[in-house]
Symmetry: C2
Subunit: 206 residues, 2 copies
């Protein structure tokens, strides 16, 4: 057995409470669910927001295609059923992160209202805040940006079922934040999200 | 648009680095994977450890049956395939939490060596620390404790495929920590885990 260096070990019955967790982190857990077309600016804003939060000593984490599609959801394809399961699992994981006290930023196209509403309900049922952020660039603007050349491929028929081209994007009708990224700078969008977090008391323990 | 209260917004190219995350949290992310028979003491130790870490201002989170089986993994049953997928998903989620900088404590029986080794590899490949903690009570001790009456039901044939009774428990052969809970108090076990975290530099940023 290893040497015992830790002292003053006491604990109470039952699990850590939300209040204890908030006090420890000086913030409250929340899921910021960014939804929008490919190239609407979700990832760019998410990456910047995470950095700015960390600079302020807050605890944030991003869930995106890079760390989910090749890991947790690598056994899912692109059938209707698998797409729904993809968003469900991400929603469940976001809920766990929010419960852990983390400001959880997800950036997935998540085109279907029903899938997003299910994730919202998961959070509501657990008493955890869920903010839907509609990252809104008009299709022609997103298609003009096309940083990965995906719209071009979709138009050429090389990618099937591409959101906005031959698969629908169901715009949120009750998003807590609506960011018109064809009009707002990344900085403006990040500020808007920070302000929203602040105004809802999520950046403090009380 | 909401009022702009946040100032001094700057960020750099690319994602938050591990070093930035460690500095912000004053710790490093790790997965403490507790494995052992039902009633071996996994949850009791995990709950106490999480509390003690939070008291020290550290950031920890537990993944267990309560928050995983009814959420992320609610669409999995108890076939061999589903049991493996259960552990795989938990391992992927633990990896995300560890990457987020959290001290992640999992408490699942996780009886098969191959499943645990897969989770270890996920962490190794991502350069994230993974400590297997063998929570070891002899079967007769666990069966004597039987707080939920599960061993009794398994012996009566009311539960099939119960680990230790009619399904094997493959004890770890390379666990980083081996806790004999028939000999150690909960406090001793928690101390051993804290000491281990400390000795491996996980409770500081550097």
């Amino acid at each position: 057995m290893t040497e015992q260096v830790a002292t003053n070990i006491t604990w109470h019955e039952g699990e850590v409470t939300s209040a204890e967790r908030h006090k420890n982190m000086q913030q409250k857990g929340v899921t910021l669910w960014m939804t929008g077309l490919s190239a609407s600016g979700k990832s760019t804003i998410a990456v910047a927001l995470e950095q700015v939060l960390l600079q302020q000593g807050k605890h944030a984490y991003r869930l995106d295609g890079d760390n989910v599609r090749h890991g947790l959801n690598k056994n899912l394809g692109f059938s209707a059923e698998d797409r729904a399961e993809n968003i469900r699992r991400i929603g469940e994981v976001a809920k766990l992160f929010a419960e852990a006290g983390i400001i959880t930023i997800t950036s997935f196209i998540s085109p279907y209202r029903a899938d997003r509403d299910l994730v919202r309900k998961l959070h509501d049922d657990a008493g955890l805040p869920f903010f839907e952020v509609y990252v809104d660039a008009p299709l022609d603007v997103a298609e003009e940006r096309d940083p990965k050349g995906l719209y071009k491929k979709a138009r050429a028929g090389e990618i099937k079922g591409f959101t906005g081209i031959d698969d629908p994007y169901e715009a949120p009708d009750k998003a807590e934040l609506h960011l018109r990224t064809d009009k707002l700078s990344v900085e403006d969008s990040v500020r808007a999200m920070l302000t929203y977090l602040e105004e809802h008391g999520l950046l403090t323990a009380e």
